[in-house]
Subunit: 243 residues, 7 copies
Amino acid sequence: MFPPAMAGYDRAITIFSPEGKIYQVEYAGEAVKRGWPTVGVKCKAGVVLTAEKRKISALFDSSSLEKIYLIDEHVAASPSGLLADARILIDYARDVALSHRFIYDEPIDVEFLTKAVCNLKQQYTQFGGARPFGVALLIAGVDRHGARLYQTDPSGVYIGYFATAIGAESGTITEFLEKNYKFDMEMGECIELALKALASAVEITDSANVEVAYATIEEKKMRKMSQDEVASLLTKLGLLKKS
Amino acid sequence: MFPPAMAGYDRAITIFSPEGKIYQVEYAGEAVKRGWPTVGVKCKAGVVLTAEKRKISALFDSSSLEKIYLIDEHVAASPSGLLADARILIDYARDVALSHRFIYDEPIDVEFLTKAVCNLKQQYTQFGGARPFGVALLIAGVDRHGARLYQTDPSGVYIGYFATAIGAESGTITEFLEKNYKFDMEMGECIELALKALASAVEITDSANVEVAYATIEEKKMRKMSQDEVASLLTKLGLLKKS
Amino acid sequence: MFPPAMAGYDRAITIFSPEGKIYQVEYAGEAVKRGWPTVGVKCKAGVVLTAEKRKISALFDSSSLEKIYLIDEHVAASPSGLLADARILIDYARDVALSHRFIYDEPIDVEFLTKAVCNLKQQYTQFGGARPFGVALLIAGVDRHGARLYQTDPSGVYIGYFATAIGAESGTITEFLEKNYKFDMEMGECIELALKALASAVEITDSANVEVAYATIEEKKMRKMSQDEVASLLTKLGLLKKS
Amino acid sequence: MFPPAMAGYDRAITIFSPEGKIYQVEYAGEAVKRGWPTVGVKCKAGVVLTAEKRKISALFDSSSLEKIYLIDEHVAASPSGLLADARILIDYARDVALSHRFIYDEPIDVEFLTKAVCNLKQQYTQFGGARPFGVALLIAGVDRHGARLYQTDPSGVYIGYFATAIGAESGTITEFLEKNYKFDMEMGECIELALKALASAVEITDSANVEVAYATIEEKKMRKMSQDEVASLLTKLGLLKKS
Amino acid sequence: MFPPAMAGYDRAITIFSPEGKIYQVEYAGEAVKRGWPTVGVKCKAGVVLTAEKRKISALFDSSSLEKIYLIDEHVAASPSGLLADARILIDYARDVALSHRFIYDEPIDVEFLTKAVCNLKQQYTQFGGARPFGVALLIAGVDRHGARLYQTDPSGVYIGYFATAIGAESGTITEFLEKNYKFDMEMGECIELALKALASAVEITDSANVEVAYATIEEKKMRKMSQDEVASLLTKLGLLKKS
Amino acid sequence: MFPPAMAGYDRAITIFSPEGKIYQVEYAGEAVKRGWPTVGVKCKAGVVLTAEKRKISALFDSSSLEKIYLIDEHVAASPSGLLADARILIDYARDVALSHRFIYDEPIDVEFLTKAVCNLKQQYTQFGGARPFGVALLIAGVDRHGARLYQTDPSGVYIGYFATAIGAESGTITEFLEKNYKFDMEMGECIELALKALASAVEITDSANVEVAYATIEEKKMRKMSQDEVASLLTKLGLLKKS
Amino acid sequence: MFPPAMAGYDRAITIFSPEGKIYQVEYAGEAVKRGWPTVGVKCKAGVVLTAEKRKISALFDSSSLEKIYLIDEHVAASPSGLLADARILIDYARDVALSHRFIYDEPIDVEFLTKAVCNLKQQYTQFGGARPFGVALLIAGVDRHGARLYQTDPSGVYIGYFATAIGAESGTITEFLEKNYKFDMEMGECIELALKALASAVEITDSANVEVAYATIEEKKMRKMSQDEVASLLTKLGLLKKS
């Protein structure tokens, strides 16, 4: 048997390999694995996302770059992978959510939104002439079914988790989460667990490079913490390293 | 003669091999064989589907993922293979069923629905620029002709069975069914046979990872069992293993 | 000279080989040769089709699968080759026949119908971006010109025969027909000849796996025999083997 | 220099070879050379076409297959090469002739008709995404300019002849024609010459396998001989061999 | 450096070679060089075209084939190269000339017409999916600017000449012209020069195989000589050889 | 493992490499690195762009070529890379900014404008049939959020910086900026820093080859310095070398 | 590293090489270098274009071929490279200029016109399915900004010059210009410089093969010199060689 590179099974999304794999979709997953990490945790009280923005240069203006995007009042998303691809999907998600409010006059269900985004992703894994989206998204929110947390991948699959991570070091972070997760947490505990999980894998040296967003089941509002809030929380938890 | 990999007959769905095979469609079948197993059984009393959801992570929220989808009041479908592809076909099937009710004011025949889904699949095996759907579906329901159970494959072929299985370990399950199947079963026996067949090949350690849906000829309604019902049935049958 | 595989003449329907052959169309013919056999015979009294459905599994529901399709009141067709492709052509033939009745208020001529189906097939042998239909059809019927029996192949050619067979073992069946055929047969003799020809090449162990349809010149109606009729005929002719 | 097969100049109609040849069009010509032969002869009295239908099987129904097609009252065509391709061109020619009658209320000139068919053929030799028509046609008729006989080839070229042949053995037939042709023939002599030319290359064992059509300058009607007429003519000329 | 065949620069019109050549266009020029020769000469009195039609078979009906086409009352064109391609361009030229008359109620300028034809040719040298026209045209006529003679090639370039030739043996013919040309000729001398130039390279054995068309500046009408006129002129000039 | 050149992962933007990279986008980045350098700096007082135009010939008319383009009253952009590509993006940016003013009657936010340009760039990295834009842009301006400075790259990613450089020698310039940057600068200091940074990497011999544009937070107007202003500033700073 | 020919980076305009080059565009530049030379010079008094038409045959009618094209009253263009491509761009430029007059009732700015032509060129360097234009243009004119002279290349870049040359021997001509150019010339001197520059590289043996067009700042009219004017000027300057 040839390796896929020689046999050419990995040259197009319109080609299955003899094992039934679509290598281009799997390679797109590699772009995700090299992305900045993002963590999501849900509990009985709500759901939280936290993400790292790497200091790519001393003169990088971290305030100019978002890593967690509000999609609608009650739902947010955070990508890992190709940032330009992510932007396209975030815009698409916002359009879907806005249309839903406009047509039905109510917030969109988080799963319904996730499915719409993933159906778009799926199209890019079946038809030639384009490449798959090289990006995974954590989509988190609170709707009439409670707290929701979905992980989507470049193939267009989405799966619900109690806690999960994508991007670089996601293995380490997931391991931390599996050891320390419990469903019965208050919102504060839940946020702390997410930050600790992130810090278990990446060294946080500047609070400006961390974003946090959460929503409680009571409020059903996704809010992003201010940089000051993040800074004091990181300090309180002793997660801020001197670089 | 070259193996298909070297001769390139397996690089596109628009190419027949010298033996008249379309290798890309056969490779798509490999994606099905690696999917989570699904079992379908019909009897004089009705028809049942049961499927496994694998625990892909300790923090996986199994309630967020469906393996058996209700298509209409009287019919359900359960896929094996690429989950993102399956979603597209399930949505398509629901559209077809809904349109039928809207236009004719009566439930769609199960075979007619199956044929519509398979005609879509066939298109993806004849025209270039896309790949076949990497998914098989069991479609089960009760209509004016009685209980119906169809297995569809990536080529767009569908065939009726009294009992069948798709996905990983489907060989073992089918063997079990062939040994134990009889047409004269009540609904309860039929459901039990399906669960036992599933358990013959996969170890069930959490009732939350098993779904069951059935329809009786009298009621012509497909209903999904609650998780509690599934749990007590598995316990009663002694099919629940400690992991 | 290279074999076509090395020279690549067999990679697309838009390429002639140096001998003027379109290899992809010939390869599609191989899919036909691997299909379940179908037999057609016409005589002074009418025309008959008979076909085998193979028992692909012990739990296969043979009643769920048709091998001979009624196209209109006076004409039927039976395919060999890729079943999903056949379905598309059968649907197309039904559309053509129905439109003809609707527009001209009379049954379509069998040859005109056959030509329409074959013109569609031809398109798929001349234009890139799709593959030929991997299916042959026997089309049989009675119209104002009398009994008609056409064999179509993947290239879009159709030819009239007094008796013919397609699919696996068609060589053996044709040989049997050539030895035993005469034009002056009554309908009953004609049906028996067709069944004997089929049985000359395949072992019939279950009457449920054989379909028969015939039309007489007087009635101009194509009717499919019930399973009971087939069973008693096979028994009477001693063609039913114990498996 | 490479042979065209290695250099790939013969893989597409959109590629000229270094000598300015389009090999795919030349290969299409090979399909013509393997076709059943057709002969055309014109004289001062009119024009005749005659063609062979080969007995491809003992049970072949030769009456079901035409080799000479009436296009309009005054013109006929006979193909050699891929029969399914021929059918498409014949239908096209009939459409063109019919439209002409409808719009101008007069019979179409034979050359104008021939040019329309050949312009269609030319398109298939210049644009990618399809293959050339693998068929040559003799188009014969009588119009206001007198008797006309054109030979068309897959490249879209048409050329007028006094007498010519296409298909298998056309070399032998043409040689016979060159030796025996004179312009000053009556219709009867002309038909006999055509049949003798055909018989010079192929053994005629069944009059049902030969078709003849002719038109005289006076009548301007193309008529196909009945099978009886053909049979008695072949017998009279001693051209019918016992097989 | 590779020869273009190995490096593949000659496989598409959308590819420049490293020297800035488009080989496919140059190869199309080879088809022109293998075409039957055509000669054009202009002088103070007018312009003439003369062309050879080769006797491709003893039974070839040379009256059925034109080599010089009237485009409009005042302009004619004569091609060398692929005849089917030429026909497309001739039809196009006639459309352009006719539209011009219709819209402006005056004869089209010969250069404007030539440019329109060459712009069409150019398109086929820049866009993929088709091949260049394998044909050159001499376009000759008389308009308000006087006598005009243009040579077009497959690249879409056109250039004016006092006298020129295209097709097989055009080198020999051009040499003859260069030696014998003078601008101050009467129409008769000009026609004779053209015929002599043609005869300098090809043996004329049948006056039916030569065409002549000319236009004088006074009349501004392009007229084709009758076969009798051509015959007597060839005889008078002693250019007719016994074959 | 093969280098990407041999494995072909770098032949199309629709192909991911096994590491999840899109090589064609990375190669487009090389065109940027060979472009003339451009520098951007923002501070508490505003934002400045400065760029070099290389003297490509002694008779080059530097006044005919812009390197910094005004997009709207409050925003400018300066490209490095393929100049023809840059022009397309600049025109697009101007359209977007103008439409915004027309629809909302207010200046467009700099980030919103940047995102629109980058979304266009992203499209050219996902769909086949075109290549990515081989150009990076610095987009600078002052809006209701203050001074803004974004760097965009061929992948469609944009990132905010306090100071940055693109094009040839951007590494040297960035190093200079990192050593000397502080946020608390007046506009004058900021402009001087930008010019010194540019001069740290390229020898300025003619003030006509340097462009400067800046905007202060108070005025919110982007203005380009006249050539005289640039000349006197360069002289004052001692940055003008004799060539 | 492979040479581009082996690695295939030079096979399409949709492929960047690892150095960020688009080889097909560079190869198109080679077609320009093989074109007949064109010279442009601007001065305080105006702008001039002069170009050579090579005597490609003794019977070539040089008056039938333009090398300098008037685009509008105040602007002209002269190409080097593929002449058929040039014609397309010249027509396009005339359309743009005419539309501008029609819509705004004023002459188009020379740079705006140049940009329009170059934007069209750029499209052919980014999208597949066509090749770049193998032609460079000098565009010269006088508008409200004064005398303008732009050189465009196949990539779609345009740059202003005081004096420049394109086509064969442009290196020699440019060298001559650099040595002898000064801005303070009257129109006459400017024209003479341009002719001398041309003559420095090519031997002028026939004044009919040289074209000159110029515009003064006062008149803002581009006028082409008559052949007589050119002849006497060449004679006066002693630039006419006996061949």
